[in-house]
């Protein structure tokens, strides 16, 4: 029960942001997440942002996969 996707914020106007995923765009309510600005990635569920995607952590996880690959080969 968690269908939510990461979308990129194109612009912000008050409590709403215009977000984009692969060309699919929608206005999203951002009142539940603080400090959202254009360029951020947000997790969108049913028309609301529920969190900002932490790019640093995303890259950290990917680096971990990279490390595993290097150790295996």
């Amino acid at each position: 029960m968690c269908l939510a996707v990461p979308m990129k914020v194109m612009s912000v106007k008050g409590k709403r942001a215009f977000a984009n995923l692969g060309g699919v765009k929608r206005e999203v309510d951002i009142s539940l997440v603080k400090n959202i600005k254009a360029g951020d990635y947000i997790i969108v569920h049913a028309g609301f942002a529920i969190q900002k995607l932490n790019k640093k952590d995303a890259l950290k996880t990917l680096k971990l996969f990279e490390k595993m690959r290097n150790e295996t080969y």
């Binding site: 029960m1 968690c2 995923l21 692969g22 060309g23 699919v24 765009k25 929608r26």
Partner: protein
């Protein structure tokens, strides 16, 4: 059947539609030509010494205007395509319309113009029709039925009984664009999406395919129920199965994103201008090359093949090498939150 009323699922082109046809409709229409539920009936008129293909379809799409087309274009293309995939050259079409009182004449003319354009470009003549008007509220703006006649050309096969293990499966382009564009055009979900319907007349592409190779076993256009429905129809009750490869299915970023957001499976979504071709594996590359040269086949891909194992089933090999089944779709595709 346990339903006492027709539901929308009965019209969705998947399992329930098939059940409605097989368990109720065929009871009253037992003609042998209907038994395999072909896209067109191949009618033999001995005096003519030619095989005629005859098909019919009704169009109730909403909204009637959508990115990439309208109900009129859809009505003409749909009937052309049903004839084309049976190896017939579409010749004549009828057009019966049921119009809601209050419908704009401007919109009516837009639709007629669209139908006329496509028919002319496809070399098809609209030669008979009917017009009815019903009270406001008794139909949604306009419903159109088109029936078509085509002349079957002397192609070897194509038919389900020609399919053999090892045959390749080609799709002419990205699946599901029509249904995706309709959902967006409805505006219920307030998304702006750069997708257009793939609605197009495929006779030209089909003719090119059939002229190129004598190894074409079977063709169908994936409409309601999408690629999943067509593949399951091909294997149903047969001694072979199908395996397709997820990474071979042509897609775009927007299509994938839209499906991710709503939880849709692209395999279950309808197209209106695509062809699925089952072809002798030795001819597959040649047919693919020729398809890609055609404007409607630029994104054609070989997506899998017919296999001896799993008779009657369709298997998907995922990107990670795991396998799972693709079933006949059930009911309508509904956007999920879950």
């Amino acid at each position: 059947m346990k339903d006492d009323k027709i539901t929308l699922a009965h019209g969705a082109g998947g399992r329930q539609t098939r059940a409605l046809i097989e368990k109720i409709i065929l009871k009253y229409f037992p003609d042998p030509l209907l038994r395999y539920l072909p896209d067109s009936a191949v009618v033999n008129i001995p005096e003519l010494r030619k095989e005629i293909c005859f098909t019919t379809d009704s169009y109730v799409v909403s909204p009637i205007f959508f990115p990439g087309g309208d109900i009129g274009k859809l009505a003409v293309c749909g009937t052309i395509n049903d004839l084309a995939v049976c190896g017939a050259k579409p010749l004549f079409i009828s057009c019966a319309m049921i119009i809601e009182e209050g419908f704009s004449i401007n919109d009516f003319e837009r639709i007629l113009k669209s139908m006329s354009n496509i028919a002319r470009k496809s070399g098809v003549r609209i030669v008979t029709g009917d017009t009815k008007v019903v009270d406001r509220g008794k139909c949604d703006k306009i419903f159109i039925n088109t029936s078509g006649i085509g002349m079957k050309k002397n192609y070897v096969c194509p038919g389900l009984n020609c399919i053999r293990a090892g045959d390749a499966i080609i799709i002419s382009g990205i699946p599901g664009l029509h249904e995706l564009s309709i959902m967006c055009a409805r505006g219920d979900f307030h998304f702006s999406v750069p997708l257009k319907s793939d609605c197009a007349p495929v006779y030209g592409l089909v003719e090119t395919i059939l002229d190129t190779s004598t190894g074409i076993r079977f063709m169908r256009d994936p409409t309601r129920g999408g690629l999943a429905a067509v593949l399951n129809e091909i294997v149903a009750g047969n001694h072979f199965g199908i395996r397709i490869y997820e990474d071979k299915i042509p897609l775009t970023k927007s299509v994938r994103s839209f499906c991710d957001i709503f939880g849709f499976d692209i395999l279950n979504l309808a197209s209106e201008g695509r062809v699925v071709v089952v072809v002798d594996q030795n001819e597959a590359e040649k047919v693919l090359r020729v398809m890609r040269k055609h404007p409607l086949g630029k994104r054609a891909e070989i997506i899998g093949n017919v296999i001896k194992e799993f008779p009657g089933r369709v298997i998907l090999k995922t990107r990670f090498g795991s396998e799972r089944f693709i079933e006949m779709p059930s009911g309508q595709q509904l956007p999920r939150i879950c």
